[in-house]
């Protein structure tokens, strides 16, 4: 008994000491908070507060005109049990995220790796070529010309030329094709900021590590990748993963621009377009907030899972 007490009091002492030290440190660096303040205030207003508001309103019925009314978990219950479109949206987002997230991530990494072996000038060209689709913003709308439903659509005409199809297909309005096309377009745009981070990460690896690895008997490029490159790239890999999660779960521009909003039978609806529909078209803010909250939670869980996974790479 005596021992436990002394342990507790020692622990409390330690905590108190820690707190006092922190306070001292804070006093010493008062100016730092001044530097941080402008950013912190804006960041709080436009990033933290929205998340908090969103969680709060998700438990209410709120249509902007009337004051919010607390309804408990009703929004979530409705979402999962009654809203069939939401289930389609979840399914679509999940399919897009599962396919384009990991595939886009791995492709970004592989191509950054391949590009790294190129001579310098060619590398610069290749980086622009692979990165261009994702900085080009609205360039993906060109796919509405390429996949146009009539015979003047490039893809239709190619297939008809080769006799693969008899009549033009409605690639962007037929629910059977929409998701495939979306996945292709999103993959096309997936070499984003993470890809750049990988390219830079490869160039930053100490060359003498490769020499040492060669001498130690690293036989081929795959061994080199696993034993030398991957472990030194871990921080970039995590950054790339965060970027992938962002783009995989936030898909909304592409389906809205290509497949229409709303799309035929809601076949191209994603969670974010669903959120927009309820938030900005029907002004059911409480319901929209519940959708947003679910998305936050899923994204944070994903990031946690990936960083746990990456902790094991090369170990």
């Amino acid at each position: 008994m005596q021992k436990t007490q002394s342990f507790t009091s020692r622990y409390l002492d330690m905590q108190r000491e820690k707190f006092r030290h922190g306070l001292l440190q804070a006093k010493k660096n008062k100016g730092c908070y001044l530097f941080l303040a402008p950013y912190a205030i804006l960041f709080f207003t436009f990033f933290i507060l929205p998340i908090a508001t969103s969680i709060f309103y998700s438990f209410t019925y709120y249509n902007i005109l009337e004051p919010a009314r607390f309804i408990g978990l009703q929004n979530y219950v409705n979402l999962i049990l009654q809203d069939e479109v939401f289930l389609t949206a979840i399914k679509n987002t999940f399919v897009i995220a599962v396919i384009t997230g990991p595939v886009g991530y791995i492709l970004s990494f592989l191509f950054a790796w391949f590009i790294n072996e190129l001579p310098k000038w060619l590398r610069a060209v290749a980086v622009v070529v692979f990165y261009a689709p994702s900085i080009a913003g609205a360039a993906f709308t060109v796919f509405s010309i390429i996949f146009r439903g009539d015979a003047y659509g490039w893809f239709n005409s190619i297939l008809m030329e080769f006799g693969l199809i008899e009549a033009p297909r409605l690639w962007l309005t037929d629910p059977n094709y929409m998701m495939t096309i979306l996945v292709i377009v999103i993959l096309w745009m997936s070499m984003g900021t993470g890809f750049l981070s990988f390219v830079a990460g490869f160039q930053g690896i100490d060359k003498s590590m490769y020499e040492a690895g060669y001498v130690d008997g690293v036989r081929n490029r795959w061994q080199e990748l696993y034993h030398i490159t991957l472990p030194s790239m871990k921080p970039m890999l995590l950054f790339g993963a965060v970027m992938s999660i962002t783009s995989a779960f936030n898909v909304s521009d592409v389906p809205r621009a290509l497949c229409g909003y709303p799309s035929t039978d809601y076949a191209a609806r994603t969670v974010v377009t669903h959120l927009f529909d309820y938030g900005f078209s029907r002004f059911e803010m409480g319901y929209a907030s519940a959708i947003a909250t679910i998305l936050f939670v899923v994204m944070i869980l994903c990031k946690k899972a990936i960083s746990a996974l990456l902790g094991r790479v090369g170990a």
């Binding site: 508001t53 689709p133 913003g137 609205a138 390429i146 750049l196 936030n250």
Partner: protein, 408 residues
């Protein structure tokens, strides 16, 4: 384990007041000396040195910068041409890694000699290639794949440019050509005619976009850099936690926070003003994140020395740190410009006269199939700006991205 070597390198010595000298730097365990070119007597000598390494990717390849700070707080910055390899563990003493054998054959021979044997090393172990452990078939495969996938990546963009140059009859020809046979700029001039007919002149949209982009980017640069500076270089309670939150918020850009953001902005009375676009851009997490990570690469000694000299925190930030993180600036500017330039702001701006260029172009897009050519022309205009900016600033951006990793 590492052997201590004497090291020599030619390079430039830059004093803190900006004077530059060319010459040779020699260093051993005890200290270092710098001889001006063509002179025998060393110009400066040190017996004690604290070193920091800054390896970075520059256009000319890897450049190595070395800062020496002496006991009396005089500072010297070296830019080394070649030869001298510096490692982060060289804080207390000068040391270079042991010389690595050139090929696996050399290594095998060395090991055999240690055992007192003499061996015949197979010839293939003595070949020095740039990538000794790469198979040629693999190289060819990779080049081929890069070429094919690269083509697939560019094809839609080429198609876009092609469409914008096609005359009307080629836009609706079967089969449609990828590249026009008779290129024309009609689509671009038609685009401006259409624009001229709308009741808000196109120049107004352009000015809106430029204004939002310029103000948003400038404020972001200053505010986020200040925050990044203290987060990177000072240890104060809450700093790490704050940065962790920012890192998590990297994921929540734009759409997901759209609804609650709208509610907050309407409370603040910012709906239908430029502030609704500009203020959130000030706080973009990606800028702070990249800047902070890049600033961590700056030698702390630089800041310590300036603090001892009595420089205030703001002076250190403005005249010592900021000039040294130019690549990160540029990256921040580009990311910010990219997102603001592409913003359509349909949800927070209602007045037609305040809308952005992308919004105006989207309206043309909504004009349907008859405007296919004009839409392509409009897209070429929107797309060209970020791509061109990236082409010209690629090396700086990559330099910044090299420190972008998230350390968990």
């Amino acid at each position: 384990m590492s052997e201590v070597n004497n090291v020599r390198s030619t390079g430039t010595l830059r004093l803190i007041d900006g004077k530059k000298f060319r010459g040779t730097l020699t260093a051993d365990e005890q200290g270092a000396a710098f001889c001006q070119k063509g002179k025998q007597e060393p110009m400066v000598q040190w017996h004690y040195a604290r070193l920091h390494r800054m390896d970075s990717i520059r256009r000319g390849g890897t450049s190595t910068q070395l800062t020496v700070i002496l006991k009396d707080d005089s500072r010297y910055v070296f830019e080394l041409d070649h030869g001298l390899k510096l490692y982060s563990f060289m804080d207390s003493h000068w040391a270079d890694k042991p010389v690595t054998p050139k090929t696996r054959g050399d290594e095998l021979r060395r090991l055999a000699e240690l055992r007192g044997e003499k061996i015949q090393v197979p010839k293939k172990h003595l070949i020095t290639r740039r990538h000794p452990n790469r198979s040629i078939a693999g190289d060819i495969g990779i080049y081929l794949m890069l070429f094919i996938v690269g083509f697939l990546m560019v094809f839609p963009l080429l198609f876009l440019v092609g469409s914008s140059l096609k005359p009307l009859d080629e836009l609706f020809r079967f089969p449609p050509p990828v590249w026009p046979q008779h290129p024309t700029t009609d689509n671009f001039s038609d685009l401006f005619v259409t624009m001229g007919q709308s009741w808000v002149p196109f120049s107004r949209y352009l000015i809106n976009t430029v204004l939002i982009t310029a103000v948003g980017t400038f404020g972001h640069l200053v505010i986020a850099s200040m925050a990044a500076f203290v987060l990177a270089k000072y240890d104060f309670p809450g700093g790490k936690l704050f940065f962790g939150v920012v890192t998590t918020c990297l994921m929540f850009s734009g759409y997901v926070t759209g609804i609650p953001n709208y509610l907050i902005m309407s409370r603040l009375g910012m709906i239908d003003t430029y502030w609704a676009l500009i203020l959130p851009a000030f706080a973009a997490p990606i800028g702070l994140f990249l800047m902070k990570q890049f600033m961590e690469g700056l030698p702390t000694a630089l800041i310590e020395a300036a603090t001892i000299d009595g420089a205030g925190r703001f002076r250190i930030f403005w005249s010592i740190v900021m000039p040294n993180v130019k690549p990160a600036w540029l990256t921040m500017i580009i990311f910010s410009v990219q997102s603001l330039w592409n913003t359509s702001a349909a949800t927070v701006i209602y007045s037609e006269a305040k809308k952005t260029m992308v919004y105006a172009l989207q309206q043309i897009q909504a004009g349907g199939i008859a405007r296919t050519g004009q839409v392509a022309a409009a897209n070429v205009i929107i797309v060209a700006v970020p791509i061109l900016v990236f082409v010209f600033s690629q090396s700086r951006i990559l330099e910044t991205m090299a420190s972008s990793g998230i350390k968990d």
